[in-house]
Amino acid sequence: MRIVMKFGGTSVAGAEKIRHAAGLALKAVAEGHQVVVVVSAMDGVTEDLLDLADAAGSGNRAALYTVLGKVRSAHEAAARALGAMDEVDPLLGRLETLVSGILAVGELTARSRDAVVAFGERLSTAMMGVAMGCRAMDGHGAGIVTDDHFGEADPLMEISMHQVRQNLEPIISGGRPVVVSGFIAANQHGVTTTLGRGGSDYTATILGAAIRADEIWIWSDVDGLMSADPRAVPEARLLTAINFAEAVEMGKFGAKSMHPRALEPAAAHRINVRMRSTFNPDNPGTLISDATAAGDAAHAVRSVPMLKKMAMVTVGGAGMIGRPGTAAAVFTALAEARVNAHMICQSVSEAGISVVVSMGQLDKARAALERALVKVTSGPHANVVSSLKVQENLAIIAAVGQGMKGVPGVAARVFVAVAEAGVNINAIAQGSSELSIAFAVDEAAGSKAVAAVHRAFGLGG
């Protein structure tokens, strides 16, 4: 079998864990599999490097040397234990030179920030290469080419896939494993970029699609995807198999799934993804595949993820009725303020539109909507919206399952269960894909509602 394995930050945090991860990969090699390993930066290092870049850009020497020292000692400790100092020391030296340069110039660009952040993966990749005794390269070396959008670069998919095939195929066809750094790539001119959302998982699925892997294994510190957050529902179970559409939907609602962007290459090329835990490697984890379960009433709901720390902003006014363009104005205002709307509801009367946003973005959302719609005295939106209401401390709960498609009564079962648990629902939304039903409740009652839905669909077994 041809396998791409990605190890997350917690799976490579320190020499012991790197050794363990390397052992898992080498075991697969010994079993005759062709293996490409993708690694994230050590847990917490990406955040440290972002701080480091900011410190350098703002001229904060004290913070710079403190963070640099922290990054250096964490990697030196691990590298010494692994015998990887020859690889790690020059990288740390280059990192120091780079941030000194930024400090001297006194300006941090998106481009130089990417260059700094990329060291997290470069360092962990070098150590994993030593631990596995095989070749290690960065995403650019593997062939991933992106546009010039530093910090959130989009791969040029066809050329990337072509080059990855050219570069990796000869290595793995010869039965040799190879380590590739996740998250980082380069533009056409070879300047380092980072992939942003989806990060190292995205690297793994791009590589998997390019070399037509049989499976992509995402190793992390959890066994896989759960039917609900076990902190809310103790009887929550591991999901052994779901399909891509369900995984994307769960990801949107905050389950410890992969970012939808990262699932895309795997879904497009029908490559199975397996999420599993390095701490429990005998467990096969959750298989995400192409299998469909539409109309399967027994599995109408597979999982009940919850997003906490939400707030709902409702704009209302009789002036909105029959008036085109108000919804567009709401979403434009939010988009311009870079506010992410998690859930949107509109009353049939058109007299109100509710948008659920994270608490962290509430102030930005409220300000943007007031500016665009409430405090306007001229133009097409004058005197249309008369009220702006905010409800804080909400949770969005979703019932997710492709089996609900075309099966009547699923929504009723969800809401009866929540009502019987004595929880009031603030807003409801269902996507036209019929993969999920989402609703907002007071955060304090969130766990109770999740447990009720979980029980109603027999997810605890």
Binding site: L156, E158, I159, H162, Q163, Q166, Q188, H189
Partner: protein, 350 residues
């Protein structure tokens, strides 16, 4: 348009000769490329600012086996090859607007030409390519790069040499839909098969004869094993039908198993055996096949025949000479003129 020419084989030399003739006769046409840099496998020659290269001197030097960087009589500056990817760097820094890639088609090592195309497009240069290898192995990737960098990528000389096979296919695809393409597009195999039929030779005899006459190369595998035909069909399929495929994904069989007996049997039934390339919505296949004697695909020697099967128009056939340096050079000039026209339109010109 200022251009960099890569490759001084028969096509590159024919192109330079054509351009020199135009230069001398003063018959300058708008859109004719102005060669400011020439690259061969051993080095490059770059024009100095304000001074053109002496193209005739360049061809004369090459005819004597002198590499371009040593062809001092052509004027300009000679640069010897050095370091990995030297030619890519040279292209990127050439300051020209067009790359003409006419290097040798090497299906086993398409990376060199691929690197040239990448470097050119990343630097915002348009590309005319008559090297089939990068196109046939990475067509989707090259189209993506051209679109992303907003540059033109033309390759009409790859199929049918000067005969405008791609242009006709693209025309047909507008308004109608091209469902399939069958074609005889390799002169070497066509010569061998004709000898087997008309002179009663075996495959081995006919191949040896073709090699003596210079119709087949010392290593004939690219032609007789069907790879040249496969490359052309992959390029046709992409350009005319929008089918994303590569040579690696194609079914390819050569003519080495065709026997005199099979040829005679086919003839008895009013048929003849040709190496036929087929492109359909599901990809490309190449192999020996029986076609009607005197039918559209029964062409001789270096003549190519391409049959487009369209929804409304039915079968449309184009045939014409499908090989040769000057013929392919004509296709390059055609592509370059197209690109210059498109670039002019972009700038709001005529």
């Amino acid at each position: 348009m200022k251009a960099t020419l890569v490759g001084m084989g028969s096509v590159g030399r024919a192109l330079v000769t054509l351009l020199a003739q135009r230069q001398r006769s003063g018959g300058h046409r708008p859109g004719t490329p102005e060669i400011r840099a020439v690259v061969d496998s051993r080095g490059a020659r770059l024009a100095r600012a304000g001074q053109p290269l002496d193209l005739e001197a360049l061809v004369a030097a090459k005819a004597q086996g002198v590499p371009v960087h040593r062809a001092e009589a052509a004027g300009g500056l000679g640069v010897e090859a050095g370091g990995p990817e030297w030619s890519q760097r040279l292209i990127a820094e050439s300051g020209t607007e067009l790359l003409i890639e006419a290097g040798p088609t090497d299906l086993k090592r398409p990376a060199t030409a691929m690197g040239h195309l990448r470097a050119a497009m990343a630097s915002g240069m348009h590309v005319v390519c008559v090297n089939k290898a990068p196109l046939a192995t990475a067509m989707p990737a090259l189209l993506e790069l051209a679109a992303y960098n907003r540059v033109g990528l033309r390759f009409s000389g790859c199929v049918g040499a000067g005969t405008p096979v791609l242009a006709m296919g693209e025309q047909l695809a507008r308004g109608d839909r091209v469902r399939g393409i069958s074609a005889v597009v390799n002169g070497t195999t066509n010569y061998i098969l004709t000898q087997m039929r008309d002179a009663g030779q075996s495959f081995g005899e006919a191949l040896a004869g073709a090699q003596q006459l210079g119709y087949a190369e010392a290593d004939p595998s690219g032609d007789v094993d069907g790879w040249d035909t496969a490359m052309k069909m992959v390029i046709l399929a992409a350009a005319v039908m929008g089918v994303k495929t590569t040579v690696g994904r194609s079914q390819v069989e050569g003519i080495s198993k065709v026997t005199r007996e099979a040829m005679a049997e086919a003839a008895a039934r009013g048929k003849t055996i040709k190496l036929v390339g087929r492109a359909g919505e599901d990809g490309v296949s190449v192999g020996p096949a029986e076609v009607d004697r005197h039918g559209p695909l029964d062409v001789a020697g270096s003549i190519n025949a391409v049959v487009f099967r369209c929804d409304t128009l039915g079968e449309v056939t184009l045939s014409g000479r499908g090989a040769g340096g000057p013929e392919t050079a004509t296709a390059i000039l055609r592509d370059a003129e197209d690109l210059a026209k498109a670039a002019g339109a972009d700038r709001g010109g005529r």
